[in-house]
Symmetry: C2
Subunit: 174 residues, 2 copies
């Protein structure tokens, strides 16, 4: 499917409810463990998604739409949440994510983007020129990738418990 | 984590709400495409989960708990849904899944399972002897694996739209 703004917003606005349905109120047995050293727990992933709302997606869209001389994005700190969320509860993080997402989608809708704006470009620190449509498509795919990651990390907590069925569960081997 | 009945039920009972939050009412652009020949769309995956509720998890638990002479499970038809769900709506399938899951968890709770019952065994047609605890752990991990699959299949619909960011999105390459 090529990029479609309405189809993107309809998924972006669901992510907070999906994460709440999956995680809010779960025992820490599910939400605190990760996949091993230097990997993220479900709690960590939600913290990363909060960071994206605060410092990545909308700030970059604003840079593109401002059409200034310097359209280079700030590098996104993918580890900021590991320092800033110590001691917070998952329920708090989920509520923060929902509030930020709501606010960001309100701003996105307010841009009234048409084909011309979606083709405007910014400079990614590694990739070079990227379009606003690519940025917004990535926002959607990034949500979905992290929902998949959370489900996978939780599944792996039962890697031993499933016994021989592990052979039939590819999610345990990624 | 070793198998824990309460921790398992708390996830099993969330699955219908997670799938509804993620899928119900989405345009078919997201729910109908798959990952290529002989792969499943999000619609197909929900159909497969319905089949599991109807013919797999509880029927096998009942065989184990009956402690009869023949504890061999019926093979699970992983393709039944592809024939039986033609023409149904995703909303209907999600509602059916929610109803079956509710009913099955009511029956599961009614078993009042303790350690002794969780150690009882059945005969898997391929793996041989498996315990009830392994069956129930697999039910949980199977849900999570298919939630991850649905998110991945949807993310891949934007594989081209994300442009160079595909390099940063491992979910697009699985």
């Amino acid at each position: 499917m090529s990029f479609d703004l309405a189809n993107s917003i309809v998924l972006l606005e669901r992510a907070p409810a999906v994460l709440e349905a999956l995680l809010d109120g779960l025992p820490a047995d599910w939400t605190a463990p990760n996949e091993g050293p230097d990997t993220w727990s479900p709690f960590d992933v939600v913290g990363h998604l909060v960071d994206g709302e605060e410092t990545d997606w909308l700030p970059r869209a604003r840079i593109i739409l401002a059409r200034g001389a310097n359209r280079r994005f700030e590098p996104f700190d993918r580890f900021r949440h590991l320092r800033s969320n110590t001691g917070r509860s998952l329920t708090d993080l989920l509520a923060r994510f929902a509030e930020l997402r709501r606010r960001n989608l309100r701003e996105l809708r307010g841009f009234n983007l048409g084909e011309r704006q979606l083709g405007l470009t910014g400079e990614h620190p590694e990739f070079g020129t990227v379009t606003l449509a690519q940025l917004l498509a990535t926002w959607v795919a990034h949500d979905l990738g992290h929902i998949a990651q959370i489900a996978r990390v939780m599944a792996k907590q039962y890697k031993d418990a499933v016994g021989p069925w592990a052979a039939y569960l590819p999610v345990l081997h990624r």
